[in-house]
């Protein structure tokens, strides 16, 4: 594996909710998450809403202060740096946001938006900055004379490209892409994905690509992490995860995705999960997925499964304890009988 750029160990982000007389409640948005990203690699992060994938991305960038854990970036723990100490890393780590309508300040021109980072870090003179902004605009497929335009004149896809130009203005090494395509039209999504891939090829940037569209994540990612209720339930190379998902949640998630191919869609067997994601305020004891898991065992309801390593993959599920794998003579799930879910899907 190539050189490690980012290594996250047991990262936690808890939010405290004040609930009047009931006192404070803790929401564990990110709970002991560990993963690593190599130079020039894309880690795709998938999961449904409320699984903590956006909070994770924001915690990496210290938009949210981490509650516990380590964020090793080139060997330096970012979680422990002061705000001032973190400033040099602001240049190296950037972010692309989900909503291209909300992530551009409507009162500034495109030139001011893209040039702001260079101005803050005092990277160049005004004239140089203007030239660089124009280069960046051309790089993302817009015209240099768009520099004096305002964000609302652009369409969603064009705005997202402006956001990309803004992040590139600082020559970052690592970009967190927080659902950068989910607000865009189908024909525009591919433009943005291709642009991100091109940039990666040219500059060797690493991405953390957060999304809920599994097809696109598979396309852009080298490796994939699957999150559920604040936990990373499975990580592995993207083709492996897609073709042989280990965790029961990953299997269900992949099978639930509608395939844009009518014949394949009719052949596909869907694993329909019962119910919905439990509220993160009252997560189940033990494994977070236990309430909906078709393979749930007694141990799952009692203890949180640790991360088991299998070749180059990691999965947090008791089905992958060594002795269980040996017992069923292989790591696949096909031989296992499915049980009814542990709890009825009521969620009032």
């Amino acid at each position: 594996m190539a050189e490690k750029l980012l290594e996250v160990t047991d990262l936690c982000k808890y939010f405290e909710l004040k609930r009047g007389l009931k006192g404070t409640q803790v929401v564990k948005a990110v709970d002991h998450v560990s993963f690593e990203i190599a130079k020039g690699e894309t880690l795709g992060l998938v999961g449904e809403s409320g699984c903590g994938k956006s909070s994770l991305g924001r915690t990496l960038l210290r938009i949210y202060e981490p509650t516990a854990g380590e964020i090793l970036y080139c060997g330096k723990d970012l979680a422990r740096l002061s705000r001032r100490g973190f400033l040099p890393y602001r240049r190296k780590i950037q972010m692309i946001f989900q909503d291209p309508y909300a992530s551009l300040n409507p009162r500034l021109t495109v030139g001011e938006i893209i040039g702001e980072g260079m101005q803050i870090h005092k990277l160049c003179t005004k004239a140089q900055a203007t030239r660089r902004v124009q280069e960046l605009l051309e790089l993302v497929g817009l015209k240099p004379d768009h520099i004096r335009r305002y964000p609302h004149e652009f369409s969603g896809g064009q705005r997202q490209r402006i956001c990309i130009a803004r992040t590139l203005s600082l020559d970052p090494e690592f970009i967190v892409c927080d659902e950068p395509i989910s607000a865009l039209d189908v024909s525009i999504q591919a433009q943005v994905i291709n642009l991100l891939e091109l940039i990666q090829k040219e500059r060797g940037i690493s991405y953390l690509f957060i999304a809920h569209d599994l097809g696109m994540v598979k396309h852009i990612s080298h490796r994939i992490g699957v999150m559920y209720l604040g936990h990373m339930v499975e990580t592995g190379p993207s083709n492996d995860v897609y073709h042989d998902p280990l965790h029961p949640y990953t299997r269900a998630l992949l099978s639930a995705e509608p395939i844009p191919d009518p014949r394949a869609a009719h052949l596909k067997k869907r694993i329909l999960l019962e119910g919905e994601i439990p509220s993160p305020i009252h997560p189940p004891k033990g494994c977070p997925f236990v309430t909906r898991c078709p393979y749930a065992m007694e141990v799952c309801a009692a203890i949180q499964p640790p991360s088991f390593e299998l070749e180059n993959r990691k999965v947090s599920c008791f089905l992958y304890e060594q002795w269980r794998i040996r017992e069923r003579g292989g790591k696949g799930l096909a031989s296992l009988p499915q049980k009814a879910p542990a709890q009825p899907p009521a969620n009032a």
């Binding site: 497929g141 189908v186 591919a190 869609a265 919905e276 009032a348």
Partner: protein, 364 residues
């Protein structure tokens, strides 16, 4: 016979900036019991077409032309030039809405009244269209909720919308939509706001329920995966016009319009092995205030011809079910009504022709 027939429907909106031509000359028909997909990106007119059909457009809308037939009855929203006609139309539509035609919306909360109990809301819909007692309506509501997979419906009837999760709310909307045994259900992005695993549940539910009830469904969506899973036939909309229409298989495996091909090239099919590079459509959808002359897709089309910038493409059909609006598919000079630039007739030099085409396109 078709259940719904829309002919040459156009819808415009008057805004401070000018006239937005949201829908231009849209025609299609829906047969009883089929699932018809209306696919398009934002601004393509897919929602506007359904709002025009239901007579739910705002004050600033104008419907200059269009005929709509539902079950043989004329419910055209155009030419409502007298007060009397408008009143009659409104009366007709009020009876149809929630009765023979019902709607499922993207965001269930816009449809559910937050301060009324779920039971009251479903019963109200039933009582408005069917003559029965409150008790009968309640029994029907419980039956419906059981049908859409809501556990212990007797208890849930007494609860308020906020006590339900997103997926459950969407089930309630579906229950309410089914209440009066509609012949046509219009589903406007019913799963867009939901998570993948919940979306799968709802899609499955829509499929089984329509199989059981025999109602036709118009599925408005931008998600080609949803369309492939659910729909029998599809119409692709772009900038307020139908670009291509056909059976789902025809559209996915034999797309005739460059836009359809572009859409299919823009998505990654995770079932396929290997990562084919994506082939996106370049550029940005047109502004409906300033549509280009000719075909609206021309500025982004990689196969555009000179005529595409001058005249809207004619219809070409390939089978009884598959039709498409694109000059590439009907290169028939007799269909051209715009005058050819005079110079082009006497075999102009290349540079000359180019200039002429440029000016023709600018004027056109």
């Amino acid at each position: 016979m078709s259940l719904l027939e829309i002919r040459h429907l156009s819808t415009h909106f008057q805004t401070a900036q000018g006239t937005v031509k949201a829908l231009r000359d849209v025609s299609f028909r829906v047969s009883p019991g089929e699932v018809f997909g209306l696919v398009g990106e934002s601004g393509s007119g897919k929602s506007v077409s359904m709002l025009s059909l239901m007579g739910l457009l705002g004050e600033n809308s104008v419907i200059p032309e269009g005929e709509i037939l539902f079950g043989g009855r004329d419910i055209s929203p155009s030419e409502l030039n007298t007060k009397k006609k408008r009143r009659e139309y409104e009366k007709k539509m009020r009876k149809l809405r929630g009765g023979e035609i019902s709607m499922i919306f993207q965001d269930p909360m816009t449809f559910l009244n937050p301060v009324l109990k779920i039971g009251t809301q479903i019963c109200e819909g039933i009582l408005a269209h069917i003559h029965c007692s409150r008790e009968e309506a309640r029994i029907r509501a419980i039956e419906l909720m059981r049908q859409v997979g809501i556990p212990s419906p007797e208890k849930r009837l007494e609860q308020y919308p906020f006590e339900f999760s997103g997926g459950m709310r969407q089930r309630i909307i579906i229950a309410a939509a089914l209440a009066c045994k509609p012949k046509l259900i219009i589903a406007d992005e019913p799963t867009t706001a939901l998570d993948v695993t919940v979306q799968a549940q709802i899609l499955e539910l829509i499929q089984t329920l329509t199989d059981e009830s025999g109602a036709a469904v118009i599925m408005i969506t931008h998600d080609l995966g949803v369309v492939a899973t659910l729909c029998d036939r599809i119409a692709i909309l772009y900038a307020g016009r139908v670009m291509e229409e056909g059976l789902t298989e025809e559209i996915f495996y034999n797309p005739k319009h460059p836009y359809t091909r572009g859409l299919l090239g823009s998505i990654n099919n995770s079932e396929k092995d290997g990562n084919e590079p994506l082939r996106p459509i370049p550029g940005t959808p047109p502004d409906l205030l300033k549509l280009p002359a000719g075909c609206a897709f021309m500025p982004r089309c990689q196969e555009a011809l000179r005529i595409c910038a001058a005249q809207e493409p004619p219809e070409s059909s390939f089978s009884g079910t598959h039709r498409c609006f694109c000059w590439q598919n009907s290169m028939d000079a007799s269909l051209i009504t715009v005058p050819t630039p005079a110079a082009a007739k006497r075999a102009p030099s290349e540079a000359e022709a180019q200039n002429l085409a440029l000016s023709a396109a600018r004027e056109g």
